[in-house]
Symmetry: C2
Subunit: 258 residues, 2 copies
DNA sequence: AGAAGGACCAGTGGTCCGTA
DNA sequence: AGAAGGACCAGTGGTCCGTA
């Protein structure tokens, strides 16, 4: 029975398209596929990026049919495999990922989508006189999922927040890093790690106050500062100071690490 | 064994006085009394307000001995009654409550104390490079308790937040309300209820944005807007608008409810 | 191996309701 | 009755680790 999924959606004022797609996903046996679950106005962008079938032979149907891997022959029945988003690869700015991969422009686009979902949640809250979130909270992720953006989830977005931060704060540096890591053939994890260092340098110039750095940028202010970035800034501040941690905070302009 | 309470305190850099008092409370059999648990630098203020023994015959010891009510004769043993703070009564500005009561100046003073505890928590967090609370959170209440201010607790502070808000935002109106309700012999609950209306009026003048009203005042911005005040503002906005809730927000200056 | 995300967990905001 | 606050609860921020 699909009534639960449809009921949940019917309260949110979604397009009939999204409801229909969610219904299809529910019918498909509990698993569904990411492709099917992607709904509403956000789907177009995702489609554009999803250039599949480099090795595969099956032409995908827009609404039905799985994104079957070779080892999974269970196509005819009601049992889809549990599909995940394609992994990210390091791409240059403007470059579309080929194969079963997603590029970094697409990654950053997800942050913009989350911002739009937050704005919608805020508007609803204001209208109802309820307390209004200023950050991308669990509530926003839940809203995004109901709106059909099932490819957005909290662990992923939190994982790459600092990469998005660098993209917002110093797009040139971010682009240069992407090109360098692509040229070197580094994987996404290595690129992600490398994004921390320039951010710490930016924080250093702002008195080591990474919260202030985030809050000063309107698109970044809606994201929680990642724990690891905060810790790195704290460690570097104490190293850079060259004295007891007690002094801290005020000595920002004297020392430049990078 | 008192080691747990002492250990918890020893990490917070408290005065030995507070630790000793906590130990006494623990020894006293799990109950302890509020008087004993009150410790550290904050105690003085509390003492000043606590003018007891109007009907009672027992002179209180500063550190030992309960604040025994007539019906409780269990004084000699290790079993203290579970003491609560004296209830609030409506007092005029500057008036000290008599008998086993606390006055409203004392109530508002508790909010100032919480602010000081928040500032301490913030300073510790900044020093450690941890995320820094902007509001009076559970963490702050926990810190206050460990610091010996056991008379501060979350339900009480949340209960009277809007009364403190009126005191901050329009002290003249707050004082007038206190005098009027005292003159009429109203109880604290009635006074508390009456504090909502002038706050809604203030919010009305600020485009019904009660969050903005709180945030604009530095001592108030650290407190969460109470749910009921938020709801009242929302209801009044829709009533005042005289049309569909869709219009909302922009029509602030035209209509004055009070 | 490298990576995506379901699902868990400690501690939160909120306040009810057993207590005095 | 009026009031103080321990203690509970649903939903949070954070991220681990079983999964693909």
């Amino acid at each position: 029975d699909t009534s639960i999924a449809v009921d949940a959606l019917s309260q949110e004022g979604l397009s009939e398209e999204a409801v229909q797609q969610e219904r299809d996903a529910a019918v498909s046996g509990g698993g569904g596929t990411w492709e099917i679950a992607v709904g509403g106005g956000k789907k177009k962008i995702r489609r554009r990026k999803g250039q599949k079938k480099v090795v595969e032979v099956d032409e995908e149907d827009e609404l039905e049919g799985g994104d079957d891997d070779d080892e999974n022959g269970d196509t005819g029945g009601g049992c889809y495999e549990r599909q995940r988003e394609h992994p990210f690869i390091v791409t240059e700015p403007g470059e579309v990922a080929r194969g079963k991969k997603n590029g970094l422009d697409y990654l950053f686009h997800l942050y913009e989508q989350c911002r739009e979902f937050l704005i919608q949640v805020q508007n609803i809250a204001k209208e109802r006189g309820e307390k209004c979130p200023t950050k991308v909270t669990n509530q926003v992720f839940r809203y995004a999922k109901k709106a059909g953006a099932s490819y957005i989830n909290k662990p992923k977005m939190r994982h790459y927040v600092h990469c998005y931060a660098l993209h917002c704060l110093d797009e040139e540096a971010s682009n240069a890093l992407r090109r360098a890591f692509k040229a070197r053939g580094e994987n996404v994890g290595a690129w992600r790690q490398a994004c921390y260092k320039p951010l710490v340098a930016i924080a250093a110039h702002q008195g080591w106050d990474v919260d202030a750095v985030f809050n000063a940028h309107p698109r970044l202010a809606i994201w929680y500062v990642p724990t690891k970035l905060r810790q790195l800034c704290h460690l570097e501040r104490n190293n850079a100071t060259g004295s007891s941690p007690i002094s801290g905070i005020a000595n920002n302009s004297a020392i430049c690490l990078y």
